[in-house]
């Protein structure tokens, strides 16, 4: 199998399989969560606070007062990584072309140089966060194999994408194939690792906002 065959495989049946596992996995995990259900809250809410759950989905992205000062590495590293990754996934011209081929939808791209910078920033942030995970006593206690696995499969698409874009070390066609494989690995593992927070964060934030909202606190 030459490099082109490999790329064709990566873009073809491998991608199909990865997408099927990804979608099925996400649906399964959502079923696992919502299938448990919950009892209705019979306590009269303090104020009708419609939308408290929905607002908290957004407001929880902002650190509460004083917290930024306590944990700047986690907050700043987290922001830089998430934003960098988001821009790279959704605003790199070739990626938009991929999404168009998949869904028919399209939107304007950012200049490649800007996306490139955001990828570098995200990679740096990932390393800072990894170092913090290894050195901070709380994070070290909480960390399991799953945390390092999640780190690795998030890092690989960024690294391979960066190397492919800059034609570094490996022949371009092969690098591109490796990049796509790494994304497929990420897609397959996302529903079954902590990376599933990509979806569940909206559920957990909603419940938190709803609980506090009923008591007349927060958003």
């Amino acid at each position: 199998m030459n490099h082109l065959d490999l790329l064709t495989f990566a873009r073809g049946s491998a991608l199909d399989l990865a997408l099927i596992i990804f979608v099925a996995g996400v649906v399964l995990r959502l079923f696992e969560i919502f299938g448990l259900s919950r009892k209705p809250d019979l306590a009269r809410p303090r104020t009708d606070s419609p939308g408290s759950g929905w607002r908290t989905m957004l407001t929880r992205s902002i650190p509460p007062q004083g917290m930024m000062k306590r944990e700047p590495v986690t907050y700043i590293g987290g922001y830089v990584f998430h934003l960098g990754l988001f821009l790279a996934i959704f605003f790199f011209a070739p990626h938009i072309e991929f999404f168009r081929s998949l869904t028919g939808l399209t939107w304007p791209a950012l200049p490649s140089a800007l996306v490139d910078a955001s990828v570098v920033a995200a990679i740096v942030a990932l390393f800072v966060l990894l170092a913090h995970r290894l050195s901070n006593p709380v994070k070290r206690l909480l960390s399991t194999f799953g945390d390092y696995l999640a780190w690795a499969v998030t890092f690989l698409p960024l690294l391979t994408g960066y190397m492919a874009y800059h034609h570094l070390f490996v022949e371009y066609t092969l690098m591109l194939a490796l990049h796509i494989f790494s994304v497929e690995l990420l897609l397959v593992l996302l529903p079954f690792t902590k990376l599933f927070h990509t979806f569940s964060v909206f559920v957990s934030r909603w419940y938190n906002g709803d609980f506090f909202g009923r008591k007349g606190v927060a958003s």
Binding site: K39, V138, L141, S204, K215, A218
Partner: protein, 420 residues
């Protein structure tokens, strides 16, 4: 009914609902909850990281309610939760968590960790892994009627003192009263000022209120230890009395967890909405004050600050009311840093103060309160929870701080214009 591991694990399975499943799914092990926890902050020990305290419950969730976890369990790859592990976790779940709710406010993925600890305690108590002191308090609450073993005659004696002191008759068992007033054991034993203050304020405001011999105790050890069946029995006494007397509103006293038990958990424990309202005393006083029914004269000249009890403010939504009332009677009111919904716990909530084993840790955790108070430079501390009050009095004494602690209701009563 004896407690067994099996019962505990079943209770774990039973309490896991959609919110908890979403919380465990969302946790990215960022550790920010540790920064919000007073026990972690004051000791620096990572084992006090709030989400870590839930590890056994998380594993039960994973092994029972996720496909991968179930596969792992079938293949014998996962580690089951054992009695030994729950023994190890007991101090984390009880001694080092006051259910204060700060972690739930800061978790970036929105995990209500406090809600999970409250639920986890159901399995801990069902498996026999609750602190002995809390078991004893709960037994007293069920058998005698109060966690501190107080019976109605003790309240009657206090009523006698209050009537002699104020010349005001304390109403008992009044059918159709607007308000049913409850107390906490702590107020009955240590702070008789509360009943006296209520009598005087309500007389002036013309409030139609009553005490009930079958429901004078507001506290609920059942929700602290995590035994919903017992919590239901304790709260049902109040519900029965309120329905019997046909009151419009039950007033939760200056006690944090009593408010949570009665206001937020009660209807869910009973399985039906109440036919009456539940208000914290500060809400009632603020309502009366706004309606112009409380007349005060003069202001307290002492510089003073206010400690927000966790269950009243962060978990209860009563934040502005004490500020309104303090504005009326305090000349030099100073806020502590982090006051309001992000205030630091006194260290004794959630049953910790009833657990003598936790005392050294509680006093260590009190250092944050010490710093908060010191930064205001005051020697008078006002609060609205008798438990916070006793815990802070002990902490202040331990650290040789000359600070007087007062309940807000009694402070208000001091400046009441009477006899007009």
């Amino acid at each position: 009914m004896s407690a067994t591991l099996e019962k505990g694990l079943n209770a774990f399975k039973e309490v896991i609902d959609t919110p908890i499943a979403s919380y465990f799914s969302s946790c990215v092990h960022c550790g920010l909850c540790a920064e919000a926890c007073l026990f972690h902050n004051e000791t620096g020990d990572p084992k006090y990281t709030p989400i870590h305290k839930l590890e056994p419950l998380r594993r039960v969730w994973k092994q029972e309610y996720t496909l991968l976890g179930r596969l792992g369990k079938m293949l014998g790859l996962s580690r089951p939760v054992t009695d030994a592990e729950l023994t190890e976790w007991e101090p984390l779940v009880y001694d080092s968590c006051t259910l204060c709710g700060r972690c739930s406010m800061v978790c970036p993925v929105g995990n209500d960790i406090t809600y999970m600890i409250r639920k986890m305690r159901e399995g801990m108590s069902a498996s026999g892994h609750a602190p002995e002191d809390m078991k004893a308090a709960t037994t007293r609450a069920i058998n005698i009627g109060s966690p501190m073993g107080i019976k109605w005659p003790a309240v009657q004696a206090q009523i006698g003192h209050v009537q002699a002191e104020t010349g005001i008759e304390v109403p008992v068992d009044v059918q159709g009263a607007d308000y049913l007033v409850l107390m906490s054991s702590m107020e009955i034993i240590n702070f008789p000022e509360y009943l006296s203050a209520i009598s005087r304020i309500f007389k002036q405001a013309g409030v139609n209120w009553t005490l009930a011999p079958d429901a004078f105790e507001a506290t609920n050890s059942g929700i602290q230890i995590g035994a919903s069946d017992l919590a239901r029995e304790i709260v049902s006494r109040i519900v029965v009395a309120a329905e019997r007397l046909k009151v419009k509103c039950v007033i939760s006293p200056e006690c944090g967890h009593a408010f949570t038990a009665l206001r937020w958990e009660g209807p869910n424990l009973m399985g039906k909405p109440y036919s009456f309202d539940v208000k914290h005393i500060l809400e009632v006083l603020d309502d009366l004050h706004r309606a112009g029914k409380i007349k005060t004269k003069g202001k307290d000249k002492r510089p003073l600050t206010y400690h927000d009890p966790c269950q009243i403010a962060r978990r209860g939504g009563v934040v502005e009311q004490p500020r309104h009332l303090l504005g009326e009677v305090a000349e030099d009111f100073r806020e502590m840093p982090d006051a309001g919904v992000m205030n630091w716990c006194c260290g004794g909530g959630g049953g910790v103060s009833a657990n003598s084993r936790a005392e050294p840790l509680r006093l260590e955790a009190f250092k944050v309160k010490k710093r908060q108070i010191e930064s205001t430079g005051v020697h008078t501390l006002i609060t609205a929870c008798a438990n916070c009050r006793i815990v802070m009095e002990e902490g202040l004494e331990h650290y040789h701080m000359k600070v007087e602690v007062l309940g807000l209701t009694e402070l208000l009563a001091e400046y009441l214009v009477e006899g007009e």
